[in-house]
Assembly symmetry: C2
Homo-oligomer: 324 residues x 2
Amino acid sequence: MYSLSEAQALIQNHIDNIKFPEEPPELYDPVKYILSIGGKRIRPALVLLACDMFAGSVDSALHPATAIEIFHNFTLVHDDIMDKSELRRGKETVHIKWDNNIGILSGDVMSILASRFLNNSPGAVLRSVHDIFTTTAVQVCEGQQLDMNFEKRITVTEDEYIRMIELKTAVLIAASLKIGGMLGGASERDANELYHFGKALGIAFQLQDDLLDTYGNPKLFGKKPGMDIVDNKKTMLLIKALEDADEIQKKQLLQWLEAEDFDPEEKVKDVIQIFDSLNIREKIESRINELYETALEHLTKLNRPDDRKTELFAFAAYLMKREQ
Amino acid sequence: MYSLSEAQALIQNHIDNIKFPEEPPELYDPVKYILSIGGKRIRPALVLLACDMFAGSVDSALHPATAIEIFHNFTLVHDDIMDKSELRRGKETVHIKWDNNIGILSGDVMSILASRFLNNSPGAVLRSVHDIFTTTAVQVCEGQQLDMNFEKRITVTEDEYIRMIELKTAVLIAASLKIGGMLGGASERDANELYHFGKALGIAFQLQDDLLDTYGNPKLFGKKPGMDIVDNKKTMLLIKALEDADEIQKKQLLQWLEAEDFDPEEKVKDVIQIFDSLNIREKIESRINELYETALEHLTKLNRPDDRKTELFAFAAYLMKREQ
């Protein structure tokens, strides 16, 4: 059995050795660039781990895992254009380093290359793997559209937000596990347990990301805390706070949301104070724990010996404890 | 055997009956819009005709044909963003009717939906069909990149231009025919003859498009003639003229290319005069005829009875005579 870090190293090595065409460089240089500036390779590593769990080998999963990572990076390139983001993994985004057209077209070719890599799946599961992948990829687009829609709205409900992060983030983690399982020969039932394990974990991960931005230890989290608050980002914290706030708290929050000239530190401090008075952190932690438990239940139900599940249990624990 | 117009009607009906999701409307309305504003459905009709030629039925080809048409429309949506085009088929382009982000994301989802429709191909050819499709789709992106590169260059060689239109236009026509043939059960050899038939015809078609813009009968061609000249578009006419021109003619052409304030009618008249003195029209017509002959040779070599080839011969004649 491979460990998570072994699977990450394996897929990293595989990606490093892809021979992309040289011409035209305007098309392929951005592809090589975005794949070279890092990323934890979590999704493709999960394809490998899930496959390994059933097959005791990951050979059939290397190309499909690469497909998932290329697809994920395609979404980053296009999302960065749409969100006008200038930095990704601490480096210039593709559309900043080159331009918007190059970002659009190199993203397009990555989306197709993903499908091309996926087409190396074994014949017995080829159609199902393409089906899960395209269904998931469509959902990721739906999630990005919802995310953009929410930016323009004042209020978003908790359920709407959960559905958005499910589509934008969780289903691709879920599909990575399911596809890995199927490549390893998992039954449909087991493949679906893997999917639901991944989906619950993916939502929990995104909620935890929201929490960490505000409450994370900056030394461990690696980002300046409170940026979501400064940027008025519609995180689960803000959504839940607006939902639970009394009239006075709601007015205070809306004032901060509308403020144009402000001291960022004061805004962060003040908004956190409102969050704290509403026990937002505890409420979201409890939601995360529920999702974590749900994920573990699905993994427990999986029809494999316990020693085959070790790496995925370890992965779930690692995801949930990344702050500490 | 279906005729071209019957195949077009069949695929149109199939596209009209696709049930796209309703939510989020910002994502799917543009997809429905671009598919509803027309287009001749040539590529998917060719999938059907090529399939029909071998199988005597087009049932297995309807979904893959739809895939090709959705993919083609995805490239139009993204190309229009990159080229800043405001009109497509006489209607507002997606990024003008909505905005750039919606154009990017709805294009993305169409590219994935194309792959999804393609995944309904019969098991025996599923992997090959995906392979041809993704190879071709990657080439279409390469062609678009070359086209954008050429816009920024002063000189482009004839060979470079032919390679660009081969990638941007011809290979998708070629792949439509090849995929159709394979769905109908064609041998690899016959499928490749179809491919080369389509590729030669596709290049000829694009060259003819260049000719028609300048020399077409405006009543029949449906566009104001000479627009390519006004816009300094790098067509085969301009490329060949710059190649064949003597020093004086070249200087005249370059003056027109650099002119900022000019009378469009005078520019068109003057440039056509240079083209005419260099016999550009005849030279390109002769190239088109060579390509047309090459296309017909491939169709002739195809291992099918003549009465099975009638529709594709008719299609080739139709494409080559669309001005008259």
